[in-house]
């Protein structure tokens, strides 16, 4: 197997579907929301732990 076939996968020829602005916005919004929530929780946990050790 050559390096080029390793890197470039053989995909379907269906290029009729592309990520629209609406799709990208929802995807990005969901990622930001979930990651934001996780980060918020993590920071609160770390703050709580540093408060209790301090």
């Amino acid at each position: 197997m050559t390096i080029s076939t390793c890197l470039v996968a053989q995909t379907t020829t269906d290029t009729t579907v592309q990520l629209t602005t609406g799709g990208a916005a929802i995807m990005a919004g969901s990622i930001v929301l979930v990651c934001g929530l996780c980060l918020f929780c993590l920071l609160r946990i770390l703050r709580g732990e540093s408060d209790s050790s301090g």
Partner: protein, 613 residues
Amino acid sequence: MPIDDDTGIGCSKENWGSKMGVILAVAGSAVGLGNFLRFPGQAVNNGGGAFMIPYIISFLLLGIPIAWCEWTMGRMGGRMNQNSAPGIMYSIWPKAPAKGLGAMALLIPVVIYMYYVMLEAWCLDYCIEFARGGFAKMFASATVNVADHASEVSAVVAKTGAHFSRTCGLERHGQLFTGNSSMLWLMLVCFLVNFVIIYQGVTRGIEKFCKWAMPALIICACVILIRVLTLPNIGSGLGFMWNPDWVKLKDPSVWLAASGQIFFSLSVGFGLILCYASYVRSDQDVALSSLSASSTNEFCEVILAGLIVVPTAFLFLGAENAKGSTFGLGFITIPGIMHFMPGGGFFGAVWFGLLFIAAVTSSLSMLQPAIAFLEDGFGLRRRQSVAILGVVTLIGAAPIAYFTKGALALDHTDFWCNLLMIVAATCQVLVFGWVVGAERGVKELNRGSDLPIPSFVAIIIRFVTPAFLIIILIAWSYQTLPGYLSGMNPVAQQSKAEAAVYTAAIAEHFAEQDLTTEQLDAKTKEILAPLIEEDTLEIDLAKLPSWLAQHQEDAARAGNKAAEDATIARLVLAGIIIFYILLVALTDLACRGRIGRTIREAELGQESKEAEA
């Protein structure tokens, strides 16, 4: 009984070692096959990006409030030295219905475990097959003479479909029990892994395992995600998954699917969190821990599963294969993807390895409630409890592993568990909102909290969440129950299957006459209607015209199969009912005995501490 020095009340025998430990254990319990396989299918079939609107609303109004209720009630029960759902419910509400609800919260995880262990074995089998190159060999032989990409896709999907049916025993009942199937051994390995971990206890077993398993799972998924996002033309795959179809928002079934997904994926409302939270110290935070565990679950579901499964399936196998059901997507489409993806053997092994880890962390949470019940309710040692539960789950799993044709027993068990889960969650939220009292409950939730919960949450828990759950329960029952119940009637099913064979034969007989669909329907009705007995629904074979009578054997075979399927459905329901009755009796016995006594002692300890103060 050990007494908490600060509060003067009983404390649980065992506690979580750290806050991160309990969060990862609860997240591990929630993160399972439903996240990685069910969510992508639900989203893409219900409006793509638009699905996220009802999904997020359900997360806020349903998922988080129920999780908070369960965490709080679990910690309250733990203070009364109760770690099992029956004990916790009875300590909060010492009335007869609490025993029934507790028994239900005990039944659901144990019964789910009986079939979940089989799915665990499927994941392990696929992981091993990818690691030893079995799939690569299989695909190589299947794609020798294919002309183009489309035919290669068809050949690969057909091959993975056949492999799935064969290895998982979907072709006929008892297939896994034949000598050439390794699946039964893998199930035993899974049993062993789960019970060895659970035997170690909450801190040394579950917590220790989840502390490395959850990060390992997330790292594995991130490795695959990076590979997926660097694939050429991935934008089209992401578009297929995330482009919103706003019209779908007008469809109530989309809202039902979104709330169902949140409910089933967070593993809330049926005793798992109740049990885990009871091992939290009486002054330890539950509000932030609950939110953190739910967020971790969402991270795995929305980001990892949402960006990996469907986009890649679309990219390599096209739209048709990217819209499969949970099992279709998981065990037919994904192995197929790995044939086309560079380094597919490695990524396939990693993917099914992470699914296996996710399944183990979930399985552990299904076993612990019953272990806690045997220990708290009957004073059994851990070794005895583990042995008894091992035997019970093995007995329950055996028929599910035997009746595997079309995953029949698994599907029926899953159906009743899903229904019971919604019922149990509704009852639990009602107990929290109306028996404990939402205001008192939120005050209890805020005890030792690292995240102050606003008082309006009490209104949501008291009114909005139960209403939401009741709507789901009614809509879900309305949508699925009538069809399901009619499918449980062997005579009706037999007659329906026989009629289907004769209908096909009639269509074949009149094929040359070029009849329209309406004409053919009328003809079929004209021939078959007089033959069906109104009372018994049986077809009078003596009256069959001779040209139709030659299909009698095929019809009888189809009829017998349908009747057999309906009988299995009945047996599953009967098994669940008998098990529930048994658990109610055991719960009653334990509540009258050891559980009741422990609760009274804990209350006395609490009163004497208050008097001293």
